[in-house]
Every structure is written in structure tokens, then in C-alpha cells.
């Protein structure tokens, strides 16, 4: 037994000494080799690549800023027309007097279009306007003008001031169906602008959202990766049916370097099925647009 025990301890000692000598030799070799120039490695060429990348960092931010500004301007130019209050306030003198006492007001009125005249006469300057009130235009016109108005009746539009129906802050919960599985997302949005056209309501929002991605490690452990996006959202809804489209662009603030790295942008287009339900495709572009993750998203909120 003793002999066996001795043999065992001897073999352990031998193993330990082998371990330590392997480690020591390896460490020493690495230390020496670190000072030896790497074959086929040109530090200057690599520096050129590195300095190019250094210059691109600033450009990436500028490009992103410009792209966001350009898309916002395009949206504004295409759709946004701020409510025109000026025509209510600016009142043309109904009967401008000249020195001789002769009235010329009727003459000047006939040169204006009947639609404009109707608007000018209908709304007094000091008229109080509440949010829920609709202004009814009742023109004071001469018989001739009335005849013209009847003919152009279809062209007269109602001036409508709709209420701000949605709250300033809103939240949403979202599920993305990706190739890798389900990824939940929660976010908060702040309304920054709202616009009304004859048929549609357009809403502009800024907000943040957190998307949770799951990965499986080699030991089958589930790892959670929270990703926070800064979002810009544009929604166009039919005023009567409350159906329409929502487009959203998001910029990843905290790339983890594993699933998403470098510049990561998310773009989505949702169909508003109801007031609180949307569905649509979403694509996440990452690694400076080298990789993309498409998904189908269901949004509640």
C-alpha cells in the first residue's frame, strides 16, 4: 500500500512539475517572442488603416445626424402644414373711406375670390375658440356673391381645429419574431408634433425603447442582452377609421459587441390595425450595415 501511495504521490509531483514547467516555458517564450517583430506585419500599413477608421468615427456621427435631419425635413416638407391662423386675425378693412366720403370697399371686394370673401366676413377677430369647437362659416354676401358661392359650394372647406386626442407620453410593448426566436421590447414615446390634414392625422414622436435579446451559451445557459434604442416615429392615421401607417427609425445607444456592434440602426414599418395594435416588418442593420436581422413585429400600445 505504501509503495502504491508513494507511486501515487510521485506521479502527482511529476504531473505538478510538468504543469509548472509547461507554464513557465510558455510564459517565458511568449515574453521573448513579444519583442520579436511579427513576420509579414507592416505596422505602418496597419496604422494607415487605423487612422482611416479614426477619421470615420466622426463622419459616422455627422452622417447619422444629417440623415436624420434630412428625413425629418422631407417628412415636414411633404406632409406638415401648420394650422393657418393668420387669415382669421388679418381682417381687411370692410369699408375703407377716402377723403371725399366715397365708398370703394365694394369695388375691392369683387376682385377677391368668393371663397376668400366668405372666410373674411365670417370670423370676427376676437372670436374665442375652444379646442372642441368647430367654426362654422356663414358669409355675409350680396345676392350676386351668393349666387357665385352656390356654384362653388363644393370648394368651400370647413376650418377645423381638432383636439389633441393622444397624451403627450405614451408607452408600448412589442414582440419581434426573429429567426433566433422571440425578442420582447418595451418603450416610451414623447409626442413632439402633431398635424391635421383634411383626412389624416400625423403624429411625430421621439422616444427610447429597450429590446431584450437572448443567447444560449455553450453550457446551455440563457444570457440576457438588453439593447436600448433612441427612436423617431412618424404615424399617419385616417381620422375616421383610426387606421394607417407608422414608421420608426431607431439608433442603438449601447451596442454590446456581441449581437450588435458599431453603428446599429433599426427601421420598422407598421400597419395600424386598431387604436392600440400594430403589425409590420422590422430590420436591424448592425456592424456598420454589414449585417441585418429582419423580423416581424407586433406592437401593443
Amino acid at each position: 500500500m505504501k509503495i502504491n501511495g508513494k507511486n501515487k504521490s510521485q506521479s502527482h509531483d511529476q504531473l505538478d512539475s510538468n504543469e509548472s514547467s509547461t507554464d513557465q516555458v510558455s510564459k517565458q517564450a511568449v515574453r521573448v517572442v513579444e519583442e520579436v517583430p511579427v513576420k509579414n506585419f507592416d505596422p505602418l500599413k496597419t496604422w494607415e488603416k487605423l487612422s482611416q477608421r479614426l477619421g470615420q468615427v466622426d463622419k459616422r456621427f455627422v452622417t447619422w445626424g444629417l440623415a436624420m435631419a434630412a428625413s425629418f425635413s422631407l417628412l415636414v416638407a411633404a406632409n406638415l402644414s401648420l394650422p393657418e391662423w393668420n387669415f382669421i386675425k388679418d381682417e381687411i378693412a370692410p369699408s375703407a373711406q377716402i377723403g371725399t366720403g366715397e365708398k370703394i370697399a365694394e369695388l375691392s371686394r369683387t376682385q377677391l375670390s368668393p371663397v376668400l370673401i366668405s372666410k373674411f366676413n365670417a370670423v370676427p377677430v376676437s372670436m374665442p375658440i375652444s379646442k372642441n369647437q368647430r367654426i362654422q362659416i356663414t358669409p355675409k354676401l350680396s345676392p350676386i356673391e351668393k349666387t357665385v358661392l352656390v356654384r362653388d359650394k363644393k370648394e368651400i372647406q370647413e376650418v377645423e381645429i381638432s383636439p389633441l386626442s393622444n397624451p403627450f407620453v405614451s408607452g408600448f410593448a412589442k414582440v419581434n419574431f426573429q429567426a433566433e426566436g422571440l425578442t420582447p421590447e418595451m418603450g416610451i414615446d414623447f409626442k413632439v408634433a402633431e398635424n391635421y390634414t383634411a383626412k389624416r392625422r400625423e403624429i411625430y414622436k421621439l422616444g427610447v425603447s429597450t429590446q431584450i435579446n437572448f443567447t444560449n451559451s455553450e453550457t446551455s445557459e440563457r444570457k440576457i442582452h438588453p439593447h436600448t434604442f433612441f427612436n423617431f416615429e412618424f404615424t399617419s392615421l385616417n381620422k375616421k377609421t383610426n387606421k394607417g401607417w407608422t414608421s420608426r427609425a431607431g439608433y442603438l445607444i449601447n451596442p454590446d459587441g456581441q449581437l450588435f456592434q458599431d453603428t446599429t440602426i433599426k427601421v420598422s414599418l407598421f400597419r395600424n390595425l386598431g387604436k392600440h395594435l400594430k403589425i409590420g416588418p422590422e430590420i436591424i442593420f448592425t456592424d456598420n450595415f454589414k449585417r441585418s436581422y429582419p423580423s416581424i413585429s407586433l406592437v401593443l400600445g
Binding site: E19, V25, P43
Partner: protein, 203 residues
């Protein structure tokens, strides 16, 4: 001609000490850190020149592929420059240690990516066959090559534990494996390496 050659080698030696070429000054790590924090491009270059070779070697030890090692090193230096504000100089070697950790992380990230792309086997095979043709190299270089030729998992754990000094817990966290897996990989790596080093007469 002889003079020019000597000057060139002197400059190369100086660059490894943090030499800023247009100002004829040699900076230590602390000064280099401060200048890099201030965004000085010459200091950034001096820092790169000082550590490029070492860091390339570090990345090569993990990735075993020159192109990928270069990519990892470039990404690593990008991180160094962008995060240098968060680095606190704590004496000699702290900057080098910090940069090395960043390089190791970048290499591990690339390894993960490579695992997803599943192209590793071809590349490793290609590299090892190329290495066999190398005629003259230092014994130390041969030993490092033997380490680099270890299978991916063994090599990573061995490098992290023995060379970089990470604990099994840290390795587990970084590689998403359990501590026991890390220990077992290290043990297998040591056994394989010991055999190879004995064969080449290193131990």
C-alpha cells in the same frame, strides 16, 4: 547608407519607447496617456507604435490568423483611443496591461464571430501547414507556435489562464462556460502542450 540604416533602426527603437517623431521627444506611458486623453494625434500614433507589435502578437496567440489578428488589433486600438478617458494610470505597466485586456477581449469577440461563421478549421489547417515550412526560427517562437496550434478551446483557456493570468471564474464569465469546463480545458491544454514541448525538446 550605413548611417541611414543606423538612424532608421534607432528610430524604430525609439518608437517602441513612445517617440514622437516631429518633436524629438520621448514620452513615458503617463505622458502618452495624458496626451491621448487630450486627443493628440501624434501621441496616438506614438502609443500605437510602442505597442503595435506586442498587441499583434497577443491577438495572434488567440486568433492564429494574421488578417484576423490585425482586425482585432485595429478594433482594439479604436477602443483604446475612445475609452482612454476612463483609464487611470497606476504606474509602470498599467497602460500596457489595460491595452492587452482590450486586445484579448477583441480577439475573443472575433473568435465568437468566427465560431458563428464556421470557417475556422480551414484557416487553421492552412496556417499550420504554412508554418511547417518555416526554416529558421527561435525556439521561443516554436513554442509559441505550438501554443497557437492547440485546438481553439484549449488555446483560449490556456492563454487566458497561464499567460494573461485570468482566474477560472473570469474565464467562465468571458467565454460563457462554467468554471469546471475552464479547468478541464486547461488541464487538457497542458497535457497536449507538455507532450508537444517534450517532443521538440523544450522541456
Amino acid at each position: 547608407m550605413h548611417f541611414c540604416k543606423a538612424t532608421f533602426f534607432n528610430l524604430q527603437a525609439l518608437n517602441k519607447q513612445g517617440y514622437i517623431s516631429n518633436q524629438n521627444i520621448i514620452l513615458d506611458d503617463s505622458q502618452l496617456t495624458d496626451l491621448c486623453k487630450a486627443g493628440d494625434s501624434m501621441a496616438q500614433k506614438a502609443l500605437y507604435e510602442k505597442y503595435a507589435n506586442k498587441m499583434m502578437r497577443t491577438c495572434l496567440r488567440y486568433l492564429n490568423d494574421e488578417m484576423e489578428a490585425e482586425d482585432a488589433m485595429i478594433d482594439g486600438f479604436m477602443k483604446v483611443y475612445s475609452k482612454i478617458d476612463t483609464f487611470e494610470f497606476r504606474g509602470k505597466g498599467s497602460l500596457e496591461g489595460w491595452i492587452k485586456r482590450i486586445m484579448v477581449n477583441e480577439s475573443l469577440m472575433l473568435l465568437r464571430k468566427r465560431k458563428m461563421d464556421q470557417v475556422e478549421l480551414d484557416k487553421v489547417h492552412h496556417l499550420s501547414s504554412g508554418r511547417e515550412n518555416a526554416e529558421s526560427q527561435l525556439m521561443e517562437e516554436t513554442i509559441v507556435n505550438v501554443i497557437q496550434d492547440l485546438p481553439n478551446g484549449y488555446r483560449t483557456v490556456f492563454n487566458m489562464y497561464v499567460i494573461e493570468g485570468y482566474s477560472h471564474k473570469e474565464i467562465g464569465e468571458k467565454l460563457n462556460i462554467s468554471e469546471n469546463t475552464s479547468k478541464s480545458q486547461l488541464s487538457k491544454a497542458r497535457a497536449s502542450l507538455s507532450k508537444s514541448l517534450t517532443e521538440i525538446g523544450a522541456i
